[in-house]
Amino acid sequence: MRPTVATRVLRAIVYVGLGLLAALTLTPLLWLVAAATKGPDDLFHYTFFAPRGTWANYQELFEVFKAVKSVNFLRCGINSVFVACTTVLVQLFFSSLAGFALAKYSFRGKKQLTVLMLSTMLIPGQVVMAPLYELIYRMGLVDSYLGLVVPGAVSVFGIFLFRQSITQMPDELLDAARMDGCTEFRTYWDIVMPVSRPMVGAFCLISFMGAWNSFLWPQIILHNSARFTLPIALNQLVGIYQQQYGTLMAGTLVSILPVVVLFMLLQREFVAGLTAGAVKG
């Protein structure tokens, strides 16, 4: 059946509307990319890209910033990569292992543990900020990577995510592995993890973004600028380069690039993982 004229007009309107909204959404990002290539004179003179681009903003960012305020932006980037990757690996291992146990074993205290986990999920993280800081202080972990990573080493959200996906795995698959003489850990490592690959991809991205974009906890814990992560370093940059928007935009662009690249790689899994808990839950 061919759509009527009225339907076609309506559809055209929808296309135009969505197109405009999409352009509106992308504009700040495009402006960011453009602004990072412009010198101070061109920045507001040309709305987006100037006819001649410059690398001066990056020079400022990586060299002058270090000299003036001894915040090494490159070093902060490496710190961010290190902290985010460590968080992802630790969270992934502990969450999937515990999720596997909750999904496929019956053991004493399982129900109580689940209820306990669920009820702590309802309490916002800021509630524990003060006692957590006190604890980290007593452990002597203030201003250390360990103090940054360890409190977030387990993700209750991740455990439920993995429990959800592993529950759907057929028991025969696991029993077959056991028949072949696999220990329980081998079963987890060689069967459960490879089969839940989509969920692993989704979780890695969610967990990476959480660690990468984290600001409040690092801001509280870190004092020495050699250990700053990118959000902290960028905030310092704003304080110093108040009017040098080009440098600020270059710093912002550098800071978001790794997440964008990772997202491109894991896009499909990400959307599936994000909505898994909500839709099936």
């Binding site: 969505l18 959404t25 053991f107 896009q267 839950g281």
Partner: protein, 318 residues
């Protein structure tokens, strides 16, 4: 089977099978008890102490909470946060649902691409968005003022009721405009994020129901009310509650955009910013815990009310 080594291997195999779940949850339980549960318990007691840094503590009982409820700064913070949450829920969620409805039309081409575009702002953390938008909001030269000025000036000439947006509109220095700026920024960030949830929910609605409704002569609006809304209710309630909770935890966006402070007239002071300032700038961890618990209890009440109103406790089959 009778060889002794074999039975020993069997026994070991059974033992590791029985021990496995305990070993698997052990690292989690250990970390969870130390860094998850203990701080929660501890924060309850800490909220009854006046502290100065992590070392000096004096028991003050309920004084923290009494002071909190009378503190004009806390009232400002709570009011600002509530206003922000109100706009987030009542503007952002309908927009997200509307977008999802459009993007779920089967005749629409480029759906995957549009979904990606609308979601993309969510990749940026609030700190990075805050820095970017504080530059977009710059008076005189900033992109936003120039675009709005260019748009509203010619419109005003023909339709005089449309106000002209002046080029030197100071979004982040004028107390009346701080909240609109924050809401606008968070709209850009989160509409696409919530849209993803609605899209997934819409895809899960039974398509046969639409056909049945069409046969019964239901028009688009009737179908939306009778089929779509009940079908997406569980997800809609989930999105409503999580985005309310998220809005009440607003901190980084205003903190960055307003230059690490509450902004002009404290127009951008939020509850978590207040908690951070009292706990980690002033150094009263006990008071910060009291603020945290007040926030948690408030959120609990709001979430329960939302569940009641939206009928989350009703079964989905009636």
């Amino acid at each position: 089977m009778s060889a002794p080594q074999r039975t020993r291997a069997d026994r070991w195999f059974r033992v590791q099978h029985r021990a496995a779940p305990y070993l698997f949850v052990a690292p989690f339980v250990l970390l969870f008890l130390t860094f998850g549960l203990w701080p929660i318990v501890k924060s309850l007691s800490l909220s009854m102490y006046a502290t100065s840094g992590p070392k000096d503590q004096v028991f003050v009982g309920a004084a923290n909470f009494r002071f909190l409820l009378g503190d004009p700064d806390f009232r400002v913070a709570a009011a600002n946060t509530a206003v922000f949450a109100f706009w987030s829920v009542f503007v952002q969620l309908p927009l997200a649902l509307g977008l999802a409805l459009l993007l779920s039309r089967s005749w629409l081409r480029g759906r995957e691409f549009l979904r990606l575009v609308f979601f993309s702002p969510n990749l940026l953390g609030q700190v990075f968005v805050g820095v970017l938008f504080s530059v977009l909001f710059v008076p005189q030269y900033g992109l936003l003022n120039n675009a709005l000025h260019g748009l509203t000036e010619p419109l005003h000439r023909y339709l005089s009721f449309i106000p002209v947006v002046e080029l030197d509109t100071k979004w982040l220095a004028n107390p009346a405009l701080v909240m609109p700026a924050l809401v606008l920024t968070s709209l850009w960030m989160y509409v696409g994020f919530n849209m993803i949830y609605f899209l997934a929910a819409l895809q899960a609605v039974d398509q046969d129901l639409y056909e049945a409704a069409t046969v019964d002569g239901a028009n688009g609006l009737q179908q939306f009310i009778a089929v779509t809304l009940p079908g997406i209710r569980p997800v809609a309630v989930f999105v409503l509650i999580t985005s309310t909770i998220g809005s009440f935890q607003l901190f980084e966006l205003p903190y960055i955009m307003l230059g690490n402070g509450p902004g002009p007239n404290k127009a951008g002071l939020t509850i978590v910013m207040y908690l951070y300032q009292m706990g980690f700038v002033t150094g009263d961890l006990g008071y910060a815990s009291a603020v945290g618990w007040t926030l948690a209890l408030g959120l609990l009440v709001i979430s329960l009310a939302q569940m009641r109103i939206t009928g989350a406790f009703r079964s989905n089959t009636e």
